[in-house]
């Protein structure tokens, strides 16, 4: 058998456009920072809205059955959102619930009000407008203008519930659009980190504050009333139906804490959030420095492993408040490490 070479010389095929090497689009450190805070402020606004919604409904249920208790519940809302106390008011005669609701919703002087959070989220979005999708921008911008509209205070006065629901829906729409219209590259990963950090932090504070409050009120509340308050805790964490599915209507504080902290598959649990955050940190790091874990990733990885193998008994023996505070501190440490690694180039 003879080997013959092809006598007809064929011209070299030109390199098709698709084969040419293109370096991946970089993400500016400042843009990563903005993506992170944009997502974090939206998540925060949603939590504030949910807290206020749950509390206004709670008081409809329990009203004046234990007169001083509602005020303490309302004040706990401030505490959950890291706010020390209510500032001097124009209308000090108004009930505490109204003043707190006002302060937390449309008061621009409060940096942790819904309007302040959405304003900051939107300003961050504006500065990264060119790297987010049009849908994300339009949804957040529309949400922003809805709380800034001239009729916003009127709508809020007429129906606070509808107002809070519109914030929550707006946040979830924004998050859905983020997931569905943005490539899941670094930009998306930073939003996920931010969202989960905020969710974990607020959930820890809800549990810690409410547990303290309800434990100390055990002797002044009857069982039925207590159960309503415990259910409100679940509602504030958006977990009541998932809890019932697992534990039926059995309202037991330890079970509630365990569910919210350790439930593996429920997206609102702390364990789930930590796992998501860890995964995001890992993916970010893998796309940049494939071999060495980043500091944020280490911190989150350890916490993830702890929660993966944690048992209710150890939470009880350590004490719920210290346990939750430890988680919050770890998340803060991870956030700081993230900032150092990626935002401060």
């Amino acid at each position: 058998m003879t080997i013959t070479s092809d006598p007809t010389p064929r011209p070299l095929a030109p390199t098709p456009q698709v084969d040419r090497y293109r370096a991946p689009r970089p993400l500016l450190a400042r843009d990563a920072d903005s993506m992170y805070w944009m997502a974090r402020y939206v998540e925060r606004a949603e939590h504030i809205a949910r807290l206020l919604l749950v509390h206004s409904n709670l008081l409809i249920d329990v009203g004046d059955l234990a007169p001083l208790f509602p005020n303490r519940q309302w004040q706990s809302v401030l505490r959950i959102m890291h706010l020390p106390h209510l500032p001097e008011s124009d209308s000090p005669a108004a009930p505490l619930s109204t003043r707190i609701a006002q302060h937390m919703t449309l008061d621009e002087a409060n940096p942790n009000s819904i309007i302040s959070c959405l304003t900051r989220a939107r300003e961050n979005a504006r500065s990264v407008r060119e790297i987010i999708s049009n849908e994300m921008w339009e949804s957040l911008n529309t949400l922003y203008w809805s709380v800034r509209a001239d009729d916003a205070p009127t709508r809020f006065d007429e129906s606070p519930d509808d107002f809070y629901r519109s914030i929550m829906n707006g946040s979830m729409l924004f998050q859905g659009l983020t997931d569905q219209t943005l490539a899941h590259d670094q930009r998306w990963l930073f939003t996920q980190l931010a969202k989960h950090f905020e969710r974990i932090d607020v959930t820890c504070r809800i549990l810690e504050t409410k547990f303290g409050l309800l434990r100390s009120a055990e002797n002044i509340l009857e069982t039925a009333l207590r159960n309503i308050h415990w259910m409100a805790v679940l509602r504030a964490c958006c977990s009541i139906e998932a809890y019932r599915r697992n534990h039926l209507a059995d309202i037991d504080p330890i079970r509630i804490a365990s569910f919210i902290i350790l439930e593996r598959n429920f997206p609102r649990s702390i364990r789930y959030g930590v796992r998501m955050a860890h995964n995001a940190a890992l993916e970010i790091r893998a796309s940049i420095t494939p071999h060495t874990p980043s500091p944020a990733e280490r911190v989150l990885g350890r916490l993830d492993a702890n929660l993966e193998y944690a048992e209710t008994a150890e939470i009880v023996s350590q004490g719920l408040a210290p346990y939750l505070q430890q988680i919050q501190a770890t998340i803060a440490e991870a956030a700081f490490a993230l900032q150092k690694s990626y935002f401060l180039h």
């Binding site: 970089p26 993400l27 500016l28 504006r126 060119e130 911008n141």
Partner: protein, 480 residues
Amino acid sequence: MFDSYAAHGLFDEMFLTTGDPRPHYAPLAARLRALGPTAFNRRRQLADVTFRNQGITFTVYKDAAGVEKIFPFDLVPRIIPATEWDHIERGLTQRITALNLFCQDVYHDQRILKEKIIPPDLIYGAKMFRREMFHVNVPRNIYIHICGSDLIRDNDGSYLVLEDNGRTPSGVSYVLENRAVMKRVFPSVFGAYRVRAIEDYPHNLLQCLKYVAPNQTDDPTIAILTPGIYNSAFFEHSFLARQMGVELVEGQDLVVENNYVYMRTTAGLRRVDVLYRRVDDDYLDPLAFRSTSLLGVAGLMNIYRLGNVALVNAVGTGVADDKAVYPFVPDMIRFYLKQEPILPNVHTYICAREDDRRYVLDHLDELVVKATNESGGYGMLMGHQSSQPEREEFADKIRSDPRNFIAQPVVQLSQHPSYIDGHFEGRRIDLRPYILFGEKVVVMPGGLTRVALRPGSLVVNSSQGGGSKDTWVLEDESDQ
């Protein structure tokens, strides 16, 4: 719809003196009449909501009512027939070519000064003349890559160039968004016309930026340098970055190292090859220009001089759009291109010249006086609408710094029906076309038609409360 519309003896874009619409406006007039005021108003509201939700805003410095405003948009488009546009396009191409040759000359051999076409002191006295650019070679010898030459129409309908903007002309994002909103809100009106597309502007701009990339690479890294979100034109910077798929950077994101300029990313430093800078020369580099600037990058001019980064537009182009140099542009066209200018200038008095200055001071109430290097309608005196104290104040300014002022007779500016408070009134308009100078000259068909919204006003700038219209250049029907 147009029953109460009056022409006021001005050149009207839409209507002839008989009251009939001009032929190219006839289908539009018919559609608007058929639509009626209520439906029209609904569309207008829909347009406003669209602009608001998409955040197509402009920041006005003078206005106390909040920082961000929607750039007022008038739904009635301005229509230019193909033959008119052909004339404009040739004139603008000629003009930008001459201006580029002028910049190249004035920063190198200075033939135009040596042959006494332009007095040297006018150039050396130009605030925007940059000695730092002497004998600096710029990529492809292109200085003005993007130019906005403002056009107006006089009483007889002829087009004149009012001024060139060769530093950082803005407004093209509104042109593109206006067209998108018109299509969304008024699709039926398009049906009666064949309007030339403008959506390829970002692509053309990107090609132009790639063309001047200095370093040997087929995939140059291009970035837009913005002063940040509080700058009045930030929307445009963000818009163009998105449309072209390039990074949007601020001074703080950039660092100069190893004879190159880099941007800070999550993965470390990435070299930048071309910087479309929307920051004025003065603020570009604290080591070369204003030392207090936080908007620029220390050391950028060094990298520029080395030829390791391209800046678009080049540093120093302000010498070409200085209002006292503007009267010499026809001379530049004759000198460099050996051609007669296709588009004429507006007659201009240069206060640095004694005769002109005396005339200006004697006729302040008839003239428009402008500072030579302001933009946005600031630093102007509308003589015929001014008070005696205002004129005296300006007279003092002229006497103390004559080089800094020019004056022009009031050009009437054409008027166009615009929707004001529920009916149509005539408002003055101008046109800012956008010309790209890369491997070839590309003139975007149309541009930004700016509307002076205040009644009787001749000042169209957005910072003075102006608005805009969509501009339609019609396809050449003779091709069919």
